[in-house]
């Protein structure tokens, strides 16, 4: 089954470009602004959107994304409304791949089958279940792929060689390398070390590799662009967009955060071409 994630990453890879993946939490800063925010990300240069499905207990997330989840839920965001927003986005954007990222519980309450069906119908291309490691996917993996959804797995600096192999073997869409031991948006990155790990990982898999958690600046993105197929920007973006109260502001702020990253990634491409 053809899939927007696969084709977009193949296309960019063919051009020697590193993809820019932008994360926002659905419903933040307000449920009615989610669709506008998604368009703003695309306009500002995002190649793939990661749409966070808010959860009350986002255990793997740092304070910025926790608060975005809290704001979204406080304003009445639900999983159903998240999928509705995606469907609306798809009416005017049929090309940008969208990965739904979140925690298992809200999905299980909807029912894995119902979720997979609705997410696929709404136009999702992949699903990243933060709290569902390969060991626990047995049932939901088939359900998701049965609906053409790529299941995106995380790898971290602590992942053992044996599990890396297992995850690479099951990887679809792209593998998401967690660049630091910690939560989203945390700490400072040793980009040299991360780049070395990324190169080692890419040597072991045919699936594209994205890197995220803790990437804040264009310099960091540039330092990783040669070693990864995609760079994920989340907390730094969410923090900015939280202040927006209109589609215009969203567009301006998304541009402010993403444009330098976009430039940095494209410069790396140009230096490769040169």
């Amino acid at each position: 089954m053809s899939n927007r994630i696969d084709s977009r990453l193949a296309e960019l890879g063919g051009q020697g470009r590193c993809a820019l993946i932008a994360f926002i939490t659905a419903g933040d800063p307000a449920p009615e602004l989610t669709v506008a925010a998604m368009h703003a990300l695309v306009a500002a240069g995002a190649d793939i959107i990661e749409l966070g499905m808010p959860f009350s207990d986002p255990m793997a997330d740092g304070p910025v994304i926790q608060r975005s989840s809290e704001r979204a839920l406080a304003k009445g965001m639900t999983l159903r409304k998240t999928l509705d927003a995606l469907a609306e986005f798809r009416r005017s954007d049929s090309r940008t791949p969208v990965v739904l990222m979140g925690y298992l519980n809200p999905i299980e309450y909807m029912g894995m089958d119902a979720f997979a069906e609705r997410a696929s119908a709404a136009g999702a291309d992949g699903v990243l279940l933060v709290d569902c490691p390969v060991e626990e996917i047995d049932t939901c993996g088939e359900t998701l792929s049965g609906h053409g959804l790529r299941q995106i797995f995380l790898l971290s600096p602590t992942t053992s060689a044996q599990r890396t192999e297992q995850i690479c073997a099951q990887g679809q869409g792209f593998l998401y390398y967690v660049s630091l031991k910690g939560i989203t948006g945390a700490g400072s990155l040793a980009t040299d070390e991360v780049a070395a790990s990324l190169r080692a990982l890419r040597a072991r898999t045919r699936v594209p590799v994205a890197v995220g958690f803790g990437i804040k600046t264009a310099e960091q993105a540039a330092a990783l662009a040669n070693a990864a197929d995609a760079v994920v920007i989340g907390s730094a973006l969410v923090e900015q967009l939280a202040e927006a109260s209109s589609a215009e502001q969203l567009a301006a702020m998304a541009g402010e955060v993403l444009a330098p990253l976009r430039r940095a990634l494209d410069d790396v491409r140009d230096s490769r071409a040169a």
């Binding site: 009350s56 207990d57 519980n105």
Partner: protein, 416 residues
């Protein structure tokens, strides 16, 4: 106690007993419950912990050190006390109390922290973190950290920090740093999230002492094994004194560590009825309670699949109980399994019923119970009434009530 008799306390020996359940399986599952639902970064430290635990439990020296600590530091074994005046007043079965309130630090929580701290030491960790609701587990963690000279950080919901000022001060006296957590509902579940986040970032030198039989595998097993001393002692004490096992066991269930500690060694003894008592708060129909087995449904939280209290969207809801230690929206996966298989029955006791039992036991037996344990006492009395005087109900008196006197005074409009 000699090494020979110590080894008979080893859970590995327990597991070999006829009919005793061998759960969880290798992957930490109790039927459909349990498991390891965490982000990738935690998978390696959990595997490391599982290996270290298996090695430790195979080492008689580990159990010997544990046994010495239990005896000399905790003050075990805890007695079984026949509450004769209370039993006579209720007029039914005899009510027996397993006196976990007499342990050092005043509750069963130390059984677990002693064990996990010994494990931390074996693993060469220098820093301990813990989450706490009412502060009992925080105090028990700070206590063992002080004793072993380990740095200790306790995460506590900002709301609980306000509610449990005395325990916060106790932890500080013991040298721990208490970090108020102001995310989410600012209570126990959020403290647990925050402790997990700390652990992810500091796995190299840090050991996370989870305070209940929840969390990702191997925690539900590990915490159970360390608390199962309660049930093993009770079994031996009952056989020795009465020549029979009790007819029923009763224990309160928040996350469920004191309850599983008492229940687990009896699971294979079919003649013993098992009752877990959840906090029904203002009543199960009020929506203001913490009874996840009585009123929730299966889901995934804090690394395991279990029964949860959530809204229709699967968002974990705020719970309520007069007792902070039971104020938790989930429950240990082994309880979910015991509930689903019908081996244990789970019931609810309201704030008012627990408060009445708190007073009753204080006035009738001279024992002020923790508000958590008062839930078990309340149901124990209800149950005893339906039974014959030659029968016995063993209630786990999991903690003492000193920590709750301010709460009770405030509820009754008394200024101390």
């Amino acid at each position: 106690m000699s090494i020979e008799s110590v080894s008979s306390l080893d859970p590995a020996v327990d597991a070999a007993a006829p009919e005793a359940p061998s759960l969880p399986d290798q992957r930490g599952h109790f039927g459909q419950f349990g498991g390891r639902f965490v982000s990738e970064t935690l998978m390696a430290p959990l595997a490391e912990l599982t290996d270290a635990y298996e090695q430790a439990t195979a080492d008689p020296a580990f159990w010997a050190e544990m046994e010495a600590d239990r005896r000399d530091y905790v003050g075990r074994p805890s007695p079984i006390y026949h509450a004769q005046r209370l039993s006579a007043e209720i007029g039914g079965a005899q009510i027996l109390l397993k006196r976990e309130d007499l342990n050092h630090t005043g509750a069963h929580k130390i059984n677990n922290t002693i064990g996990q701290a010994l494990l931390a030491k074996r693993m060469g960790k220098t820093r301990i973190i813990a989450e706490t609701g009412a502060g009992q587990h925080g105090v028990a963690s700070a206590t063992v950290a002080a004793r072993l000279g380990l740095k200790c950080v306790v995460y506590m919901g900002a709301v609980d920090v306000q509610r449990q000022a005395i325990n916060v001060f106790r932890m500080k006296l013991l040298g721990a740093e208490v970090v108020p957590v102001s995310s989410g509902s600012k209570t126990l579940k959020d403290a647990l999230n925050e402790a997990m986040r700390d652990w992810v970032a500091n796995v190299d030198d840090t050991f996370y002492i989870i305070g209940t039989v929840a969390g990702p595998h191997p925690y539900p097993k590990l915490v159970r094994d360390f608390n199962a001393i309660v049930g093993r002692e009770a079994k031996a004490q009952m056989s020795e004194r009465y020549g029979k096992l009790p007819d029923a066991l009763v224990a309160c269930v928040g996350g469920g560590s004191n309850a599983i500690g008492l229940f687990h060694p009896f699971i294979g003894d079919r003649e013993v009825a098992i009752y877990g008592v959840e906090a029904a708060g203002k009543g199960l129909s009020s929506g203001r309670h913490a009874a996840s087995l009585c009123a929730g449904k299966p889901g995934v939280l804090h690394g395991n699949r279990t029964y949860l209290l959530t809204n229709a969207d699967g968002q974990v809801t705020e719970t309520h109980s007069i007792s902070a230690g039971l104020d938790y929206p989930g429950v240990g996966p082994e309880h979910a399994w015991l509930h689903e298989t019908g081996r244990a029955k789970y019931v609810g006791v309201t704030d008012d019923e627990a408060l009445a039992a708190f007073h009753k036991l204080s006035r009738c037996e001279g024992i002020i119970p923790a508000l958590e344990s008062a839930h078990a006492v309340a149901y124990g009395m209800q149950l005893a009434k339906t039974m014959r005087p030659d029968q016995q109900v063993l209630v786990n008196l999991s903690g003492r009530g000193d920590k709750d006197v301010h709460t009770v005074a405030t509820l009754e409009g008394i200024e101390l």
